[in-house]
Amino acid sequence: GCGSKGDTTTEEKTTEEALSGKIVIAGSTSVQPLSDELAAAFMEKYPKVSIEVQGGGSSVGVKSAADKIADIGASSREVKDSEKKLGLKEYVIAKDGIAVVVNPSNEVEDLTLEQIKKIFTGEITNWKEVGGKDQSITVVSREEGSGTRGAFIEITKVEEKNAEGKKVDKTTVNALVQPSTGAVKQTVANTPNAIGYISMGALDKAVKAVKVEGVEATEATAKAGTYKIARPFLYLTNGEESEVVKAYIEFVLNEGQEIVKEEFISVK
């Protein structure tokens, strides 16, 4: 037992050591924590590979993959029609719910999609209108181009078609704008009357996720489809992929799904 085990490890090592190179992943700040973990696991397995993960937002992911300034672009929304012509190769690596979060001191537990829409379009501006205290609502949104924002406004119908059939983002101008999932969470955690939306994978005790249409925000409900606000995580590549990138994506889509399962919804 012992000996053969040792043998396989050394054998494995030689093949693993053969794989070397560098990967730069950039884009969605919702995907970032997941990429970080996946990369760590991959680098542990192949010590000669180095993977650099950085944020920016989903649009940065699409653009940097297209411009080839990143090897892999990460996006937390579907690629838009206008971006399709860039000819990027897409890999769905996970699914994620978007949690609607409020400050832990907030009594509101449950919101309907309609209410959420009205809050984010600025029709509802006081918590008492949705069963909370008589306090103004501080809406916290993401920057233009965020994947989370894109998915959120689409599902909650904050984005509407106008007369010409063009989609229009109706997010209220009275919203604070923060440039990352973490920043939204931080702002909501620190501001008593705030409401925001973040990747479900980033949820922790600092903020409180409300039920949407009575459904709790968990991986299970999102996977089951009862929790309405969910979107895919994508990896995007442009043109011929290098050996390492291929190996990494292969890893993410298979072994890596174990890691995905911990916080997100596996695609397997």
Binding site: E83, E144, G145, N174, L176, V177, T187, N190, T191, P192
Partner: protein, 294 residues
């Protein structure tokens, strides 16, 4: 011998040119990328348009321009009187021993990276404004509301940031006022304070103005600290407790977006910023020349 001297001179000249050339390249780049949208969208529409919503095709930079102006103005209102007072204190009033401690301290303040100020503002000022200043304001105006992310928070932090610039340059200007002026005034029976107010500060005004302009440049140009504390709300502010987004902040946050037109709009914002700063510098130079000539 002569030849290699010529070659060296040429290399040196080349290096001097690189510095200049880079300004032209930078200017060229920014303008090349930004001018088309200013043309298509209309310069006036861009500058005075009240809606910034690139995904919807609205590129009105007015909220950001107002954001930058209001935060900067706020910083100047707080920072300039404080800075000039400190400069007077250092140059005219403080005993040597105090100057020895005070001056390095102010210089230290100048060296601290702006993010540290931003972090401090985020942790201290934003909550402070929400929990302590808002209730006071609400006593006067029931409807007042703020999340704390506000012009006020940005202005306070920027004021602290520009303070060293104003103090250092103004102090030098005040110190370089010839001592004869001071003696002349004192010998007429003027008090020290009168002498400072009526002779020394007026004689140092061109230096003081320079310091304010430089401070202003620094405030307009600051990016990350402002992103952290002003809330980045692309809306024309109505009060100092409102959140705003600034030109610099918007560029930093939205840079690198997929749609080319959106990116061009950011370059156009860069042009506005660029022109703004240039105007500021030119005004400063002209004022200084006028004051110097007198």
């Amino acid at each position: 011998m002569k030849k290699y001297e010529k070659i060296i001179e040429f290399i040196l000249l080349f290096c001097a040119t690189v510095a200049t050339l880079s300004v032209f390249i930078i200017t060229l780049f920014i303008f090349k990328e930004g001018v088309p949208i200013l043309k298509d969208y209309g310069l006036m529409n861009f500058i005075f348009g009240k809606t910034w919503s690139p995904t919807n095709g609205y590129y009105g930079a007015f909220p950001m321009i107002m954001g930058s102006i209001s935060v900067t103005l706020g910083a100047l209102i707080i920072g300039v009187p404080m800075g000039i007072t400190c400069a007077i204190f250092l140059a005219e009033i403080a005993p040597k021993s105090v100057v020895k401690v005070f001056k390095p301290a102010v210089e230290l303040l100048a060296g601290i990276p702006s993010v540290v100020y931003g972090f401090f503002g985020l942790n201290i000022f934003v909550p402070l404004i929400r929990t302590h200043i808002l209730p006071i304001v609400q006593k006067i105006n029931q409807d007042a509301y703020t999340s704390g992310y506000s012009i006020l928070a940005g202005a306070v932090i920027l004021a602290v940031m520009i303070l060293p610039t104003i103090v250092n340059i103004s102090e030098n200007a005040i110190r370089s006022v010839p001592v004869e002026y001071k003696q002349g005034s004192l010998a007429l029976g003027a008090s020290h304070i009168e002498t400072i107010a009526k002779v020394i500060v007026p004689a140092a005004k061109s230096g003081i103005i320079t310091s304010v302009v430089l401070g202003m440049g620094r405030a307009v140009g600051e990016t990350m600290a402002v992103i952290l504390i002003t809330g980045n709300m692309p809306k024309v502010p109505g009060s100092i407790l409102d959140s705003v987004s600034t030109m610099t902040g918007t560029i930093a946050m939205e840079m690198g977006y997929a749609t080319p037109i959106h990116q061009k709009a950011l370059f156009a914002t860069g042009i506005i910023l660029f022109v703004f700063i240039m105007l500021l510098n030119i005004t400063a130079t002209v004022t200084m020349k006028r004051l110097g000539a007198r």
